[in-house]
């Protein structure tokens, strides 16, 4: 073997000591939010199933989903949904070979973060008024 110093050589920067660039953080968050949305999606299906089952079971399911914990999950899922949506739009833009240079990609990262928070607050306000 040419490399006898296996295991005791300098390694390339690893996740534990490497400060992730904003493009990497926003990229992994698209994956995390997308997969985390399963919880809210299943709760939504449960809500519809409960309504199809009758008034008593609907009152129970609706009560769980609009309890403080259900509200917390749904409120955070709105943020996850807008984040994943804007992150997806960014991927659609990149698929067209637009905005792949570092400066534009980093600006798009901040646009996704700020945009998703703004849309989330807007959604919460609309939901509270409605």
């Amino acid at each position: 073997m040419a490399d006898v110093n296996r295991g005791n050589r300098p390694l390339s920067p690893h996740l534990t000591i490497y400060r992730l660039p904003i493009t990497a953080i926003t990229s992994i968050l698209v994956r995390i939010t997308g997969n985390a949305l399963l919880v809210a999606a299943l709760m939504t299906v449960w809500w519809f199933l409960a309504a199809a089952s009758g008034p008593e079971y609907y009152e129970f399911a609706n009560g769980v989903i609009t309890s403080w914990f259900g509200d917390l999950v749904m409120a955070l899922s709105v943020l996850g949904l807008w984040y994943h949506t804007l992150g997806g739009v960014r991927h659609l833009i990149w698929d067209q070979v637009i905005g792949l240079d570092i400066v534009t990609a980093e600006s798009l990262s901040w646009a996704v973060i700020i945009g998703s928070v703004a849309l989330t607050v807007l959604t919460w306000v609309i939901m509270l008024v409605a």
């Binding site: 994956r31 997308g34 999606a41 299906v45 519809f48 949904l81 739009v89 698929d95 939901m127």
Partner: protein, 123 residues
């Protein structure tokens, strides 16, 4: 086979024996969801927490019911494909295959349950 040219035998057979169908599915469903998600959010959101009578009356209207059916069907297929990429990236071997199969079952079951329920409420 002797009559087929190498080009003819290779056409449509990428390195994974399939082309960009998965990527294309994700792309098409994402554009669909771009339209459906805001429509669903602002029809489902206000209905959440309403009384049984209000909820049933609301989802007997065609628009919120159709939006909900489309969002659940396209959404769960998009989720199924997205979850497959997550597993293929991080989990290898049999465990990964079982996870993908299990999530396929869950996604189809959840989509079917949701669609059945909405149709039952609406009709």
């Amino acid at each position: 086979m002797a009559y087929l040219t190498p080009r003819k035998r290779a056409t449509g057979m990428g390195s994974a024996k399939s082309g960009v169908e998965h990527f294309w599915n994700m792309k098409v469903s994402s554009i669909g969801l771009l339209i459906l998600v805001p429509l669903f959010l602002f029809t489902f959101g206000p209905a959440l927490g309403s009384s049984y009578e209000e909820m049933v009356a609301y989802y007997q209207h065609p628009f919120p019911a159709i939006v909900a059916i489309l969002t659940l069907s396209v959404g769960f297929m998009h989720f199924k494909n997205g979850f497959q990429v997550l597993i293929e990236d991080y989990v290898h071997g049999a465990a990964g295959q079982y996870s993908i199969i299990a999530m396929n079952c869950l996604c189809y079951a959840a989509a079917a349950t949701g669609i059945f329920s909405i149709i039952r409420i609406a009709l």
